[in-house]
Each structure stands twice: as C-alpha cells, then as structure tokens.
C-alpha cells in the first residue's frame, strides 16, 4: 500500500535579512495520492511544487500541517520515498549497474539478490548492454533511465520525480514519457511528478494537481480517467487540455496583476 496524504501543509521561509518579509511558499495544501496512482503537480515555476516534493522526500520539513504515507507521518529521507532529479544526480564514478545497486548496497541486500534486482531494473528501463558504462558515456535520456531504475530498485512506496525530462530534447522527452507510463503500469508504483508542461501532465497522470503561484495552494484537483495510450486528437484529451490551459492562464494574470 502507498497512500500519500498531504494534510494542510504550509511552508514559510524565514527572511534571510532584516527588513525582508518572510516568504510563504505553500499555504494549506491538501490532496491525496491514492495507491498505485500517478499524480502530476502542475504549475508555473515559483509555485512551490518543488518545495512540496522536497517535503515529501524529507529534505525539508513543513512549517505547518503534515504528510502521511499509509497513515504514518513522514520524517527524514527514507528509501520508501525515492527521488528522480532533473539533473539525474547519478554517481559519476559508479557504473550504471553500481548506480542502480547503490540503494540495495547501503541497505545490505545480499549480493545474489542484488544482482537479480539490478538485472531486472536494467531490463525494465531498457538499458541492457550498458551495465558497465559510466554515466558520462551516456546520453541525457539514458542517464534519466538509470536514475529511474535506481529510484525503483530499492522498491520504494512512492517515487518522486522532479521535472525529470526538463533537460531533454523534445524527441527524447516524448519517448521517455511513454516509457515512464509503461514503467508505472508495469511496477504499479505510486508516483508523484512535478511538471510545468500541460501535455506531459495529460500524458502521464491519473490525477493532476494544479497549483497557484506564490503562495502555492491547490487550485484544482483533477482525476484523469482517459484510457491509455492517450491520443492527442482524442476529444477528452483536447477538452482536458483546454481546461488546464484556462486554469494555468488565470495564474499568469494573477502574476501580472
């Protein structure tokens, strides 16, 4: 089970200097990510979505409210909540295999078991044949596949993805999105992904949380039950896109006002 409940979460950053105001990054954020659900947090940059993801991972603590995973309040970082970073954050001195094995090694998983899990995840992300390469020998898309495999290999309850495809070119991005849908369906993992791309959110999500700009609050909580694969010319996809555009466009006006 992996039911993630964001319960009235607020985050205030204290002013760094005298005379500055405290920054309210998140205000009373409430939503629930159900078990096996793929949830996208959609919003402009500066809406606090990264802060929220960092709180889920345990890198930061909320100043108000709490996040629970299956009823337990989350604490410091733990392998039950792994993260995929926009800049991949692979260990450059470790081979692809050893990168994927990292979490298993620090967890003390026996070697035979470890090798089996690593091989399984190499296959899952389609990197067979690249096991002994070093990260710098791989393209951006392949690096992100490694990062996804590494995050899933420890069998977390929820995988957190921080704009994982933002640094990729359009073609690779689209390919990796399809792959992620396949991986999410194959592993049935609960996932939370941050994006500012409406298309990406529609392609991936079971649930889309649209966030407002500073302070970040939940503007809309939309369950997407359009069957996959989702064609761009599907009427339901077009309607959803319109709806999301309107929600996001509002935000831009708020920003200008």
């Amino acid at each position: 089970m992996a039911r993630l409940i964001v319960d009235n979460v607020s985050k205030v950053y204290a002013a760094l200097q005298k005379g500055q105001d405290d920054v309210l990054a998140l205000r009373d954020v409430n939503f629930t990510v159900e078990d096996h659900e793929f949830c996208c947090l959609l919003g402009h940059s500066g809406c606090g979505k990264t802060t929220l993801l960092n709180i889920m991972a345990g890198f930061e603590a909320p100043t108000g409210g709490k996040i629970t995973l299956d009823g337990n309040v989350i604490g410091p970082p733990h392998w039950s909540r792994t993260m995929v970073f926009q800049d991949y954050a692979l260990f450059p001195w470790l081979t692809i295999e050893r990168n994927i094995a990292f979490g298993l090694e620090v967890k003390g998983v026996p070697e035979a078991e470890r090798a089996r899990i690593v091989a399984e995840h190499v296959k899952l992300v389609g990197l067979s044949g690249f096991e002994t390469r070093l990260p710098h020998q791989l393209s951006g898309g392949m690096k992100q596949r490694v990062a996804i495999a590494r995050a899933l290999a420890v069998d977390p309850q929820v995988a957190l993805l921080d704009e994982p495809f933002a640094a990729l070119d359009a073609q690779n991005r689209s390919l990796l999105q399809d792959e992620l849908v396949r991986i999410a369906q194959a592993t049935r993992k609960t996932m939370v992904l941050i994006t500012h791309s409406i298309d990406e959110a529609i392609k991936l999500s079971d649930r889309i949380i649209v966030m407002t700009k500073r302070p970040g609050t939940v503007k809309a909580n939309i369950v997407v039950d359009i069957p996959r694969p989702r064609a761009e010319d599907d009427a339901r996809v077009i309607a959803l896109k319109k709806q999301l555009r309107a929600l996001i466009a509002d935000e831009r006006e708020v920003e200008l006002a």
Partner: protein, 266 residues
C-alpha cells in the same frame, strides 16, 4: 601535451620548431662556457661549466651510484612526509562536512598556513635536530596545507543532489561520507596531492640545504663548498626533472583511478 595532430610531416616540423630555441640555447651555452670563457676569462670558467661537463659529471655520478643514493634519500623523505600529510584528507573531509569542526579548526589553519615551510626550519632544527625527522617535518608542512585546503574545497563542492540522492536511497551519514563525499571530492583531493607534492619537493631541497647530510639539497650545497659547479647544476637539474616526473606520475594515476573526472583529463 599540446595537440600533435595533422599530417605526420607537419607534426614533425612542429616538433622540431618546438625544441629549436632550447637547442640553440644549449649550443650557445656550450660554446660560451666550453670555448670562449676558458680562453677569455678562465677565472670565470669554473662558475659556468658547459653542458658537456655536466653530462660527464652525470655519467660519473650515476655510475658510482652517488646521485641515485641522494635522490633516493630525498624521495624517501618526501614519501614519509606524504604519508603523514595524508591525515589532511580525513581532517579536510570533517572540516568540509561539519560546520562545527570547521569553525574550531579553521582559525588554527588560517594562522599556520601563510607561514612558509622554510620559515619553520630554524625552530624545527631546535626541536628535532638535524636529520630525517626535521627534513620530513618541513616537507610535511609543504604537503599538508595544500592537501587540506583542496580537500575542504572538494567536499564543499560536492553536488548537493548527489548527497540528497544517496540520502533518499537510504544511506546513513557515514555511508554518505564514505560512498559519496569522498569519491566526489577525490579529483580535488588529487589536485591537492599534486600541488602538495610540488610545494613539498621545493621545501625538501631548502630543508636539506640546511639540515641534512644526504639528499639532493645536501648534494648541491656540498658541491658548492667544493666549487664543483657541474655537480651543483646536475643536482639542480635532477631536482627539476624528478619534480616533473612526480607530477606526471600523479597525473597518470589520477587518470587511471578517475576516468570519470574532467579534472583528471587535464
């Protein structure tokens, strides 16, 4: 090495022109010191021996084993001092990682660091007498501080997301230090070792000039008192060449153990 690319012939020409000035210089030196000075100003000829005389001294001293003996004494001091100076690595990691440790140790480091190793020679002779221990202490100071400063910097420059990634994958504080911070800082630690070896090598010669009865520094100072200028220059050249070789060796090792690091390619 500068790029020796292009057609083999063009590269050969480039190679020749690269050494042309140096070759001309040697020829001029040989003529001035070997032919002109002995005729015109014989009293000065001893002060500037020609390259051929130095080469002759080299052959003799290598043959007798004397040069290698002094070289070995110097190298051994450098190596022993280096082993002690390696303590800078754990200390630097601790200082780079824990703010409290940095706050406590940094003032001490900042006071001691600007004192050149050579300035320690008088005090160290009083403390340790003349000999290996005193020499090694001076070299140790030369290696220790560059290594420490580079280690601290290396730790501070570790990508925060690497640490976060390790953390959320379940690594403990100790595992993060050992498996992430140390390897991530290693390129800069190796830079520190390179700089330290260089500074240490320079300090070594100074220490041996004053407080040793063997080693390359001793050799050139001893030869000076006997007015054997060919041996003085031979000793200097040996110090230079060995210093260069040490640096190349460390770079070779860095390339080998850090194939992933850009710093190792330089």
């Amino acid at each position: 090495m500068a790029g020796v690319t292009g057609a083999p012939r063009a590269s050969r020409v480039a190679w020749l022109t690269r050494w042309a000035t140096l070759a001309v210089l040697f020829v001029v030196w040989e003529i001035v010191a070997g032919v002109w000075l002995p005729k015109g100003r014989p009293e000065l000829a001893t002060l500037l021996p020609p390259p051929s005389a130095i080469a002759k001294a080299a052959v003799e001293m290598i043959g007798s084993g004397e040069l290698l003996m002094h070289l070995w004494q110097s190298l051994r001091r450098e190596l022993v001092a280096f082993l002690f100076a390696l303590f800078a690595v754990p200390l630097g990691i601790a200082m780079g990682w824990w703010r409290g440790v940095h706050e406590q140790i940094d003032p001490i480091v900042e006071i001691l660091r600007p004192i050149p190793p050579i300035a320690w020679i008088p005090l160290s002779i009083l403390w340790l007498g003349i000999g290996n221990a005193q020499n090694q202490f001076i070299i140790f100071l030369g290696i220790f501080f560059p290594l420490l400063i580079n280690t601290i910097q290396g730790v501070k420059n570790v990508e925060p997301n690497l640490v976060r990634a390790a953390r959320c994958l379940g690594a403990s504080e100790w595992q993060i230090l050992k498996r992430v911070v140390l390897p991530a800082a290693l390129p800069q630690i190796l830079t520190g070792i390179r700089i330290g070896f260089g500074v240490g090598w320079m300090a070594l010669v100074a220490a041996e000039l004053v407080g040793a009865s063997s080693g390359l520094g001793f050799l050139i100072n001893d030869a000076r008192s006997l007015l054997k200028t060919d041996v003085v220059i031979l000793g200097m050249l040996t110090i230079g060449v060995v210093g260069l070789l040490l640096d190349l060796l460390i770079r070779r090792i860095a390339k080998r153990v850090l194939p992933w690091s850009l710093a190792a390619q330089k």
